[in-house]
């Protein structure tokens, strides 16, 4: 039985209940299959990140339940779960420790948990970095390599802990589109090797359909799944998918749903995030 099944059941999140009582997540339910790439698409500031924070254990939830492989992460009586190496977050602006070299970053997890002695961790770390095409930059600091490479070091750092799920918060937003296309392929490559569940938040519909097995389109704030699309393009996928007919049909099918939400956010003058 492969691992990493996440089920979100009727989750509600209200910020500052007594004061402004801003509802960020409104009775959201979503099942994410084990080993699946599930894409969450929605306009900026619609509460997607709040959902991710709840799964990761950074925020509590007002009501509802989130479980992973049957084990309760958070629920009504335990509103906040503990962050752990079974579900690791890759942050939007990156969170590699700038004061540690890339290799030191990669081995941080296992060494901290005491799972691996430093020597084995270094060996495994070098192997995984080489595997992801990062050989040669082990001893550079994150600030010295390109943003695309930093992204991949961060994903390798997560995978060093053999997590059940990767939670990605718009990881490729700041990259220019040429580098972005490269990063998509690199992520798929890593996914095919490690078959870890991926919970991926984005604004970019094209990115969602190109990468995802399933795409959940969320409403503007407070966010809940408005439409869940199954992308029946076979994996492994590569760049030619982008110009295939089926891909364009899927885009058309979901475009007006997404556009509608974007326009609502646009008019409301919703500032970024």
């Amino acid at each position: 039985m492969s691992v990493g099944q996440i089920s979100i059941q009727d989750v509600v999140k209200v910020y500052d209940p007594e004061g402004a009582a801003v509802m960020a997540v409104d009775h959201c339910s979503l099942e994410i299959e084990a080993g699946e790439i599930c894409m969450i698409v929605g306009p900026s500031g619609c509460g997607k990140t709040t959902l991710l924070n709840a799964i990761a254990g950074f925020h509590d939830i007002t009501s509802g339940r989130i479980t992973m492989d049957g084990e309760v992460l958070c629920s009504n009586d335990k509103p906040k779960s503990e962050p752990g190496p079974d579900r690791i977050v890759v942050f939007q602006n990156g969170a590699l420790f700038p004061w540690k070299s890339n290799l030191e970053n990669v081995i941080f997890g296992p060494v901290m948990q005491g799972k691996l002695a430093r020597k084995q961790a270094l060996e495994k770390g070098r192997a995984m970095m080489a595997d992801a095409g990062l050989s040669g930059v082990e001893h550079n600091y994150p600030g010295e390599v390109s943003s695309g490479m930093r992204r991949r070091v961060e994903i390798v750092r997560a995978l060093m802990n053999d997590p059940k799920a990767l939670l990605l918060d718009e990881p490729y937003r700041a990259l220019d589109s040429l580098t972005k296309s490269v990063m998509h392929e690199a992520l798929l490559e890593i996914y095919y090797k490690n078959k870890v569940t991926i919970f991926f938040i984005t604004h970019d519909l094209e990115e969602a359909i190109f990468l995802g097995h399933r795409v959940a389109i969320m409403t503007t704030r407070p966010c809940k799944p408005k439409k869940v699309l199954t992308v029946d393009i076979p994996h492994p996928r590569d760049y030619s998918v982008l110009t295939s007919k089926r891909f364009r049909e899927l885009i058309e099918e979901t475009n007006d749903a997404v556009h509608e939400e974007a326009l609502k956010a646009f008019q409301a003058g919703e500032k970024e995030g």
Partner: protein, 289 residues
């Protein structure tokens, strides 16, 4: 209020760039950024320059805007050499250059006020532009209180009030999220199609280039040169969905992509950070093909 036409009478705004080179530093630390680069920006056309990031496009923009002088070669606007910044060639920068300490309205009026040409018409024209970019309610707000998309529109209005011969845009939509970006593409295309002012648009995003351009200049890596010129004969007004389905558009995209790959390959040998990732994909795809 009558829709005053903002189409200028005779159509100015043709830029000819001839054998331009630009380098910084001296002796062994000299860095050639632009090298023997020549191209033409046709009047009343939307020319898009696309190239890998870090390939010297911004340097070319600074040369076109007159912020810097080329080491060799010449740049002519309607026959006149470009020597210093002027209202004829206005730049919309990648990060917003709205003055944070001025309200949106004061920002828009900055040009006429600075030149002492603040007349009733320019006020009226400012009002017209403010409505056109849909920022009436945000008139007294400071730029910091506007969202990314709104800042871009305010900046376009601030440039248009000066009626420049050429609008120069340096990856203006890069910071925006994907959805707002696509909305801004259509919005910007409408703006261009209305007054057909010469526009020079720089980007790293091929989809953006294909959707917006009448003509695409595909640039090489440092030292920058024009690698290819592709005419985009798609009909106007352009709609995102039909461009997306249009096969001609896809061919143009493929053509541009293959050239850009070759460019990124070469820059890899010089260890340029930005292109390194680009090459990985090419090598993988080449090996898989």
């Amino acid at each position: 209020m009558a829709e005053t036409s903002i189409r200028p009478k005779i159509i100015p705004g043709e830029i000819v760039v001839e054998g331009v080179s630009k380098s910084y530093g001296a002796t062994q630390f000299r860095k050639e950024v632009v090298q023997d680069c020549s191209f033409k920006i046709e009047r009343a056309k939307l020319t898009v320059m696309v190239g890998p990031s870090g390939c010297g496009k911004s340097t070319l923009i600074r040369l076109l805007a007159g912020f810097e002088q080329p080491t060799e070669g010449s740049i002519l606007l309607d026959g006149e050499p470009v020597t210093e910044p002027s209202r004829d060639r206005l730049v919309v920068f990648q990060e917003t250059a709205l003055f944070p300490w001025m309200t949106t309205w004061d920002n828009i009026l900055y040009g006429p006020r600075a030149r002492g040409e603040l007349s009733r018409e320019s006020l009226q024209f400012g009002e017209f532009l403010l409505n056109k970019v849909g920022l009436q309610e945000f008139r007294d707000k400071y730029p910091g209180q506007l969202s990314g998309g709104m800042q871009r529109r305010a900046e376009l209005a601030r440039a248009m009030i000066n009626n420049p011969k050429v609008m120069i845009l340096d990856e203006p939509f890069r910071g925006l999220d994907a959805m707002t970006k696509e909305l801004m593409w259509e919005y910007y295309a409408r703006l261009y199609e209305e007054n057909r002012r010469t526009n020079f648009f720089v980007t790293t995003d091929i989809d953006e280039a294909v959707f917006l351009a009448d003509r695409i200049l595909v640039m090489s890596n440092i030292p920058t040169q024009v690698r290819a010129v592709i005419e985009v004969d798609l009909p106007r007004p352009r709609k995102l969905l039909d461009i997306f389905e249009n096969d001609r558009a896809n061919d143009i995209k493929k053509q541009a992509l293959s050239i850009l790959h070759a460019e990124a390959m070469r820059s890899f040998s010089r260890g340029s950070k930005a292109a390194a990732d680009f090459v990985d994909a090419y090598l993988k795809r080449a090996s898989r093909a």
